[in-house]
Amino acid sequence: MKPAPFEYYAPTSVEEALATLQNLGYDGKVLAGGQSLIPAMNFRMARPAALVDLNKIKELFYIKPTDDGGLAIGTMTRDSVVEKDPLVAERFPIVPYVVKHIAHPQIRNRGTFGGAIAHADPAAQIPALSVALQARFLVRKQGGERWVNAEEFFMGPFMTVLEPEEMLAEVALPPMAKGSGASYQQVSRQKGGYAQAAVISVVVVDENKRCKDARVVLFSVGETPILSQAARKILMGNLPTPEAIAEVAEKISKEEVDPGTDIHGTAEYRRHLVKVLVRRGLTEAFERAK
């Protein structure tokens, strides 16, 4: 379990990193926390010709408040830093709660917020979280940059809109709306293990407790994080009654997810889990919404 030979670059500035990526083109692969990429390389399932290691670029490690009440998170910010940051907890209490479910402390000490997004593992928490929270991603390349909405970023398992010369630089989280509540539900075989099914629910209610918005994002049950359309359609403008929530859960599990059978669970079981978790998640999110 030793990786195949590769070239290694360790730039110390974003500019230098972007220039290196530009030069390498398809041969280059960004190394962030390395908690997914390095094992894949050790199994020789990933064989990048060159690694561009971002760990020496200090300017990519930050959590900054934004004026609108949101947050800007530098791509190299470690998961454990996000997990423990008081500002994150204050503005987005759901974030540390979800991050705690990522693997184990040692892995969160190395794994990065942006790295998980760029890696786009369909079973990973942070991509789904970014969709639920309507995150925007700052994507940079030599001599240019663009903003991409989380919803439009994930193309398939381990596939994103990033071009080889591009790098995810920052994750911007817009503020949570007034009257919002969130919940995270996951079932995994073991603490710290991959979810067999999981759902992040972010809802907003008006002063009459009617649903103003419902972002229900499922993951581990399809090729990318799945933002439910049914949840919005059924709930928007209505009271989130148990019946309405049950209807959403039923519809999502039947129509919007596509779990497969694997060694840890049948597709039928995982579809059943989706129904249970959506119901529990929406119920909890609406209870919390104020």
């Binding site: 030793k2 195949a4 079932v187 073991q190």
Partner: protein, 782 residues
């Protein structure tokens, strides 16, 4: 037999060094000029090798050599049997197809080595493996145990008429008679899955051949230094004395490291001699999952004959046992299943029969529990099935049939892994059972707690299962105890240690005999340079067999010390005592001689010695029991099942265990904790899954789930009983595997109990939530 140290929970003497990392593990060893090995392994489970092209690999800079079966010539032949064949069992048949050091003409499991690369670094060696091209002709893989024995099945070994590797039938009383006497005969089929013995540290070996001294040194994480030395010497045509095997500190063993003729053992020793440079190979986790050894799967067809009142009249168990591609370890695992099925109960008529089957899967050899838990699982499941049919509680049916406390010694009529008839030497199974029920508060739970929680919609359940563990089997172990001129004591044995606290427990035994501080006893295990006789670390026999040999050697030294001191102190032996590092006259403490001074006087440099006197305060002793000492106990679990997600939360576990006299009760607790964790893996998480082509789908810890600290029960209560074994002077029975044995049985019963309203019944282990969900759906008729 309590002493100043024996029977005391002193802290482990080896821990300070281990915790502060002032120890050496195999991969820490770096020798000058050392080369590194990597194996090219088969992608196919079953295929003919048409050709292997190593030319590209040989050209890679840094590669010293690339070798296939062809390059080894006559050296490539089946390895030795690791245990003798079961000739003592009447009517038993077997064929031996032992491990090949490297695949020749044909591969028989995915992961079998087809080539070995020696290079300047492991990185280069693995790069070279990528450049080896093997042309295979794929063959249909043999994966299904029952289909494998049907006519027309593809053959793992084509020189054999079928895939049958062995057959044993043993009967006590008469099953036929039992059926006649019974009111009811209940039939069930069970499937038992396959688990890894995944130690924290994998296998590994470093071999150095000194061409000037003509001496080979092997550092190896092995559970049997003696067998490795002897088999290596035999393979290479050396004297045993030319090979020294040393085990560094080891990160666990759990069974697979008992094998001493696997490809790495055979090939790396050969190549180190040929190339005259040291070679290191450390198994990586993928290799460990694919191609070390692991434990069985079995399919059981079982029948229990009972009276209406729940009395067992007889049991019949017929099972298939998966041997994997080769069977170097013969019948140990299925014999253990067979000899542990009915142990705890009065079963007058017992018929047990198995077929061992070759398949295109990794070789099966013992892993902690070593087949015992599957005999136990089958019996406990059958009792649950009978209780269900008879409308009894699981407690009632067990209480009715437990072997009484006055039954020992109890002759089982069944021959086990040590090839002698099993004898239950001592025990008190009913007390262990009742004590367990008290610890888990069974009656209170069933009568008060459970109804209340069920009324709240909670699915809580309780399960209780009994088990036995045949331990401390022969043939023998030995030890040498030596008092140094510094007054400190060295005890060496051919046994090896993988974390079992031998450095503490053996020292406790010696310290008590010689009256020295336990910290002044140095234990040497697993180095043939110090002690060259022994069998190995298996079957929970360390403290029972090697510990007893150590005790006996220490006693001999004590006698020597008393005899010599008696002369020097001019006092009769009966008036002397060994304490505080001296031999003294008990009534006149000022009249003494230090043990170290005595040791020097026992080894005179000039002058004369009395005829018949052996020099030094040193003695060697060997101990071999006529049969093993049987430990036993009982376990109960309370758990809660989420009725929607089927997630299981283990709320409380209680276990009562009897391993005779514990030398160190704290160490016994630790063994049980670790065993329980492994049992939880068995019951709930761990499963080596092969697909229909014999491909392993669980070749990493991402897919093979290993129980973590967070997967232990919320509350764990242990109770101990001590019925000393009459087989050895300290009254010890083994405990290493105990915790692992009863968990799957108790777990299955508890989950069924929690989901009682669904009527679900389990016929297998590894009850993942998805599996529980499927069973419940089936029970509902969905």
């Amino acid at each position: 037999m309590a002493g100043k140290y024996v029977h005391q929970s002193i802290l482990r003497l080896e821990d300070p060094e281990l915790i502060t990392a002032r120890v050496q593990f195999l991969d820490d060893i770096k020798l000058p000029d050392m080369l590194h090995a990597a194996f090219k392994r088969s992608d196919y489970a079953h295929a003919r090798i048409k050709s292997i092209d190593v030319s590209e690999a040989r050209k890679l800079p840094g590669v010293i050599g690339v070798y296939t079966a062809e390059d080894f010539g006559d050296y490539v032949k089946p390895g030795p049997l690791q245990v003798p064949p079961p000739t003592a069992i009447k009517g038993a048949t077997y064929v031996a197809r032992t491990t090949m050091p490297i695949a020749k003409d044909k591969v028989r499991y995915a992961g079998e080595p087809v080539a070995i690369v020696i290079a300047e670094s492991r990185y280069i060696a693995e790069d070279a493996c990528d450049l080896i091209y093997v042309d295979y002709e794929p063959l249909e893989a043999v994966v299904d145990l029952e289909k494998a024995l049907q006519p027309g099945s593809p053959l793992v070994h084509e020189d054999l008429p079928s895939n049958e590797a062995g057959h044993v039938r043993q009967e006590r009383g008469s099953w036929e008679q039992a059926v006649k006497e019974a009111d009811l005969v209940i039939k069930r089929k069970f499937f038992i899955n396959r688990n890894a013995g995944a130690a924290l540290e994998n296998r590994g070996i470093i071999v150095q051949w000194d061409k000037h001294a003509k001496q080979m040194t092997i550092w190896c994480g092995t559970q049997s230094v003696i067998a490795l030395r002897n088999q290596t010497a035999a393979r290479l045509g050396l004297f045993e004395s030319q090979v020294r095997v040393i085990t560094p500190n080891m990160g666990g063993g759990f069974g697979p490291k008992i094998n001493t003729s696997l490809p790495d053992d055979a090939l790396i020793t050969y190549l180190a001699m040929k190339l005259e440079r040291p070679i290191k190979w450390v198994e990586d986790r993928r290799e460990n999952f694919l191609a070390t050894t692991s434990e069985r799967d079995q399919v059981h067809y079982c029948e229990i004959a009972v009276k209406r009142d729940g009395t067992i009249v007889g049991l019949k168990d017929f099972f298939y046992h998966n041997s994997g591609a080769y069977n170097p370890y013969m019948m140990t695992v299925p014999l253990n299943s067979q000899s542990h099925t009915v142990t705890n109960y009065r079963v007058p008529n017992f018929l047990t029969e198995f077929y061992m089957v070759f398949t295109n899967q990794m070789i099966v050899t013992p892993v902690r529990g070593a087949g015992r838990q599957y005999g136990v699982f089958v019996m406990e499941r059958m009792l649950d099935a009978a209780a269900r049919e008879l409308g009894m509680s699981p407690v009632e049916i067990r209480r009715k049939n437990l072997l009484p406390a006055n039954a020992y010694p109890y002759y089982t009529n069944i021959i086990g892994q040590d090839f002698v008839e099993g004898v239950l030497d001592s025990g008190d199974y009913p007390s262990a059972f009742e004590k367990t029920l008290e610890l888990i508060e069974y009656d209170r739970f069933v009568n008060e707690v459970q109804p209340k929680l069920r009324a709240q919609g909670k699915k809580v359940g309780i399960g209780v299962a009994c088990f036995s563990e045949g331990t401390g089997v022969g043939p023998y172990e030995g030890a040498r105890v030596t008092v140094g001129g510094n007054g400190k004591v060295v005890a060496s044995t051919g046994y090896t240690s993988q974390g079992q606290a031998h450095y503490t427990t053996f020292a406790q035994i010696v310290a008590d005999q010689l009256g020295v501080d336990v910290k002044d006893v140095k234990i040497i295990t697993g180095d043939t340079g110090y002690f060259g006789w022994g069998a190995g670390t298996f079957a929970s026999r360390g403290i029972t067999v090697a510990g007893t040999a150590t005790y006996m050697a220490a006693q001999k030294v004590r006698q020597k010390a008393l005899k010599l001191a008696s002369k020097i102190l001019e006092a009769p032996e009966e008036e002397l005592e060994l304490a505080d590092g001296v031999v003294r006259v008990a009534d006149i403490p000022s009249k003494f001689i230090a043990l170290g001074d005595l040791a020097n006087l026992a080894n005179p440099m000039r002058g004369t010695m009395e005829p018949g006197t052996e020099p030094g305060l040193e003695a060697v002793a060997y101990y071999g029991p006529p049969y093993g000492a049987t430990g036993a106990g009982c376990m109960a679990i309370i758990l809660e099942v989420d009725p929607e997600t089927m997630q299981v939360s283990m709320e409380k576990m209680a276990m009562v265990h009897d391993c005779g006299t514990p030398v160190n009760p704290m160490v016994v607790d630790g063994q049980i904790h670790g065993g329980i964790q492994m049992g939880i893996g068995d019951a709930f998480y761990e499963e080596l899954i092969y697909d229909e082509n014999g491909q392993l789908l669980t070749a990493s810890f991402m897919d093979y789930l290993f129980p973590q600290a967070t997967d232990m029960p919320k509350k764990l209560v242990l109770g101990h009983m001590e019925t000393p074994s009459p087989l050895n002077p300290l009254g010890i029975k083994g405990v290493g595997e105990a915790g692992a044995i009863p968990v799957p049985s108790a777990f299955a019963q508890a989950v069924e109990n929690a989901l009682q309203d669904t009527g679900v019944e389990f016929d297998r282990d590894t009850l993942s939530p998805s599996r529980i969900f499927t069973y419940v759906q089936m029970a509902k008729g969905a």
